[in-house]
Symmetry: C2
Subunit: 263 residues, 2 copies
């Protein structure tokens, strides 16, 4: 039995067909497993906390793996980042779009997915037309006219434990329940962007992107903050707002247990 | 005889094999001519001021073209940007990595290349390892230890009219002379990056990137500011510094005549 390892991963999702390994396409899981096989000469399977979609980014995705190699885990981070072509590691030409943030040993029984007790997502709505950041923000035409006060009022109606079926795209992994708890949902604005951060015990398929689309419609006056309660109670996806696109979304942080944080 | 049009263009060079049209690869000139043919139904040739290399960006590239279409030029900017998939134009899925900044009519005889009297380039050296900006800055490992004062002292030796053969990569377009005038060369630093801006009447092949590489070597103490004069006088590429990579370089602004600026 090898060591139980947790890796924390940052990635730019632009050039990936999402997290989950699939044949014939470039995925984050596929790239990491490829590099681990290159390093160890053996197949190494990793178990990610979240299956992020194509175009979605991560600042703190987590994954568990069993480590049977003689290489000390202290060295693993450095060796992997060089293979990924991270700036400053002396290797270029690779994508440079995955960076291992940390590698740590965990007790037996710990699992990146099953031990997760909560996550924080960040969504960035950009007010500029800066082409150089087009893949890492949502450049929404009316962003500079959104009423942030209205959006914050709507956000308060979302916080708490509710059946969030209205914020779920059908077709995702089947779930036992669509009840989730949102611990916090903040909206902050500066000159160039609007940053929405949401922390919860778990999220349904596309839930953050639909919450963002709904909040935008509230900010535009198309929906009222007072309607949110009814929308949630309706359990009807058709009553919620549009699904905001993937490029504005970041898996920011993953929580394990009460005290322990992945990043 | 159609109208003489000048377009100013911003582009993210990451996914282009440079400016100049070539068969079977994606180039900025090729994309713009493709879109003009789509719009007009006819072949339209454009004449760019600078042939930027693969990976090099532009904030204010310029190009001339003859406009024979009945479409008013006021509409051309909007129609082109929608085709390019610029954010907020209601079209997505295209690259989104070219944006037309302005379209203006010029007198007969004006030409984006031959009427150009000067250019400003910007080069960004980044001190972070932020993977999300890896293609639009040079993430140099020792950037936070560079001695900016030394680099500024060396920059003063470069300003002026000199034979800059030492800062030229061989293999570019043959030139009548390697004498150029550098009007200004500034180096500014903040917490996350170092920005070098250089304005001159013209530049040799890779000249800005070699100047940047040379300044970095001065900033690291490998070269002394006092050596710059000798390096220039030697006319020997081997005495100058390394060629900084393309992703940090931006064609910022193009000047025509004494008063007129492209952007």
């Amino acid at each position: 039995m090898g060591k139980n390892i947790l890796i924390t991963i940052e990635y730019d999702g632009t050039n990936f067909s999402g997290w989950q390994k699939q044949p014939n396409v470039r995925t984050v899981q596929g790239e990491i497993e490829y590099v681990l096989r290159y390093i160890t000469g053996e197949d190494v399977s990793i178990h990610g906390t979240s299956r992020t979609d194509a175009g979605v980014h991560a600042l703190g995705q987590c994954a568990s793996l069993e480590w049977n190699s003689s290489m000390p885990i202290e060295k693993l981070l450095e060796v992997m980042n060089r293979r990924f072509g991270v700036a400053g590691t002396g290797r270029s030409g690779a994508g440079g779009d995955i960076r291992i943030v940390s590698v740590e040993e965990k007790p037996e029984g710990f699992h990146a997915r099953y031990s997760c007790t909560g996550k924080t997502y960040r969504y960035i709505i950009d007010k500029t037309r800066d082409i150089f950041i087009r893949n890492s923000v949502f450049q929404y035409p009316g962003a500079d006219k959104l009423d942030i006060g209205r959006m914050q009022k709507a956000a308060k109606e979302i916080i708490g434990t509710h059946d969030f079926k209205c914020f779920e795209t059908s077709g995702g992994t089947p779930r036992e329940t669509t009840v989730r708890t949102i611990y916090s949902l903040t909206i902050e604005e500066d000159d160039t962007n609007i940053v929405i951060e949401v922390t919860g015990d778990g999220f349904l398929y596309n839930m953050v992107r639909i919450i963002v689309g709904t909040l935008i419609e509230v900010g535009e006056g198309k929906k009222s903050p007072d309607e949110i309660k009814q929308i949630i109670e309706s359990r009807n996806r058709g009553n919620a707002g549009f699904t905001a696109p993937p490029q504005g979304l970041y898996l920011k942080e993953i929580f394990f247990g009460e005290e322990e944080t992945c990043v």
